[in-house]
Symmetry: C2
């Protein structure tokens, strides 16, 4: 099967090659050949299109699409306590399934092919992901007050999906301020036994740091390090309020980060120390966060916000360059999820997780620099076709029906 | 002619009423009735749609679509001197016409119905606007080095379009740092005689302020005030580096401002003192700036950037609320262009400049708060239909052909 005669193939390989008038051949779930004039059946006509690796959203709460626009422009604690948590306390399996389905559709429509999600009733989200054809790393979030047995396979679902080709489950302790030290230690023991990763909120707000300093005399990163929680299978969402010592620990333990600029701006959480993290070789992916604090799942928008937030924050228009930001949404996202051997670039042997952008759309014309157009001009609506695991999920802006 | 049975009519009238299941009747170029079960031919079916006033883009350089993605992530003076100006020095009438046509198409596609533009060869932009059906305030930009006779009708075009129903010309001195005091004085005299407004860049960069202080011992606003340039027909683009004294002058002289958050972030120009301007009752519209520094013309994206930039800048998630930002893109934009009697809201007697958003698009679901969805969830791709001056320019996301 061929994606034939693409105007641009933005490979995101080591050399960041951009190929012109090029075909990409896939067999089953994999990319098997890249070049000109390849033989095979045409799956997608690449004329007037740019082919990119599918975008990777490193921090979401998918089912929260149902809370889109439910509460905005509020102080964050009031927002959580008066609006979000009361609504979530009434959450049902049905609501989570419905919200997850909508989220899957929105992600396909806007070119995300893999995402890292944390929420409640995750069996329902997994059902939606399974039907949708997307790839995902999921986890059932838990807090001190969680009543279910966190370590049962029914709750954490790690074992149940061990052999799934598109879905993987990791552990989901909500945050060091909402999970006790004991709970985190138990989690770490379980994760070690299962060689399972974790997805956790860390250092999102200044208040969190102050509260933990009071309680433990440590930062959240120091606390997690003390109990030996940290390793290269741990992904921290947000990671805004990090000290130099925290960054040193993150570097040493090879912890991954998910940067969520839109959510961080909308909730006025703060600005991640992106360049200090990069300087230390730390892997930073990009995420939208949930629709209650974004309020969409558009990774193209997220890229533009990432680039522009750091330029204005540093008062330097040369930082957070288009290529660097595009890397966060592809290659670095794959690394953040420990999937860099499978996804994140268009290379032989990698999974066929691919999207095209329609270059006939007015906001995509002309193309002086395709990476610039991807990061600074495009939005999710410019995505024309989506392939995940070798299967076409959207063609000509129409997604396959699933429910 | 009716827009029939809209799920939402977001009127932007004084009470900011949002009407449900409502019709809007238009005759020729005007809105003549708003209510339920009105009689008439159905022009647009409003089911699953939100009807809004067309968005107003208060600062653009339309033809610069041809420079989209041509140069990014550079220091601003290097960017101008090495990339933008050399390219512009080779500018032709044909290039301006072509770029303007593309820009018109992009604006219609993304829901802008009126814009305020400044560039070269403006007769060509006017030709494109005329064909496109859009509404615009245009001006021929000039600098000290401009060779043409600025005061000839051929150049400034103010007289030529005096009776046009959709196009108005004002004066376009580039900025107080690129036009001498003498040139600005002459411009003011001409404008007084013609009762003509002006569109001018002011206080975009810190360097500009320092340079002018050195040259004149005054800020750009003080300089313009000294020569009696300022009145309610003057619109200043950017207005970032304003002193308290500048704000006092702007308030007193009822000068209007165009806020361009995306461009200001991308070029790392600075953050406008939006709340100080609002506190003083100063009218602030919203603009995308040109495609060389944005790199698109999407006013939905611009609204989200405006809201989020000021939240993170003030570290306060309650400021720059959705309704306030939506006002900037509609009502306040109309005021900034002195067109508040004609456009900016859905009210009887106003021009039929209207757009619909498709509420079936995944990123628009569900609707808890339509204004939140407009500002925080939507992008230009969600625009379904566009009407300007009573004429349908786009239906079901397909724009009328024109060239």
């Amino acid at each position: 099967m061929l994606i034939k005669n693409c105007d641009f193939v933005v490979t995101q390989n080591k050399e960041r090659e951009i190929l012109r008038n090029c075909d990409v051949k896939i067999r089953n779930d994999k990319i098997i050949e890249i070049g000109e004039n390849l033989d095979g059946d045409v799956l997608i006509d690449g004329k007037s299109k740019a082919l990119l690796p599918g975008l990777i959203n490193c921090h979401t709460h998918l089912a929260m699409t149902f809370l889109r626009g439910y509460a905005d422009d509020m102080e964050v604690n009031e927002w959580l306590q008066k609006k979000i948590w009361p609504m979530e306390s009434k959450l049902t399996k049905e609501k989570v399934y419905e919200g997850s389905l909508l989220g899957c559709k929105e992600m396909i429509r806007s070119g995300t092919t893999c995402f890292n999600d944390m929420y409640l009733f995750m069996n329902e989200t997994a059902r939606a992901v399974e039907k949708s054809g997307l790839r995902a790393v999921l986890c059932s979030v838990y807090f001190d007050f969680t009543k279910e047995d966190i370590f049962s396979d029914e709750f954490n679902l790690v074992d149940k999906f061990k052999k799934h080709d598109r879905i993987k489950f990791v552990f989901g302790p909500h945050a060091p301020y909402s999970c006790s030290k004991e709970l985190l230690i138990k989690s770490r023991e379980f994760m070690d036994g299962n060689k399972c990763g974790a997805h956790i909120h860390v250092a999102e707000s200044k208040k969190e740091i102050e509260d933990l300093k009071k309680k433990y005399g440590k930062s959240p990163v120091e606390l997690l390090n003390e109990i030996d929680f940290l390793n290269d299978r741990v992904l921290m969402a947000h990671g805004i309020w990090l000290s130099d010592e925290d960054i040193e620990i993150i570097k040493e333990k090879k912890v991954k980060l998910a940067h969520c600029p839109v959510s961080n701006m909308k909730l006025a959480s703060g600005v991640m120390r992106l360049f200090d993290l990069w300087k230390n070789g730390i892997v930073v992916g990009l995420g939208t966060d949930g629709c209650a604090s974004n309020n969409n799942l558009d990774m193209f928008e997220e890229m533009k916000f990432a680039a522009l937030l750091h330029k204005i924050d540093k008062m330097d228009s040369t930082v957070a360059k288009a290529q660097e930001v595009f890397d966060m949404a592809t290659l670095k996202g794959a690394e953040a999820l420990n999937m860099e051997k499978e996804i994140g670039s268009i290379e032989i042997g990698k999974k066929a997780d691919l999207i095209t952008l329609n270059l006939e759309d007015y906001n995509m014309k002309p193309v002086h620099d395709i990476v610039s157009n991807i990061v600074y001009s495009a939005n999710g609506g410019n995505v024309n076709d989506v392939i995940v695991n070798g299967k076409v999920l959207m063609k000509d802006k129409l997604i396959n029906k699933f429910n």
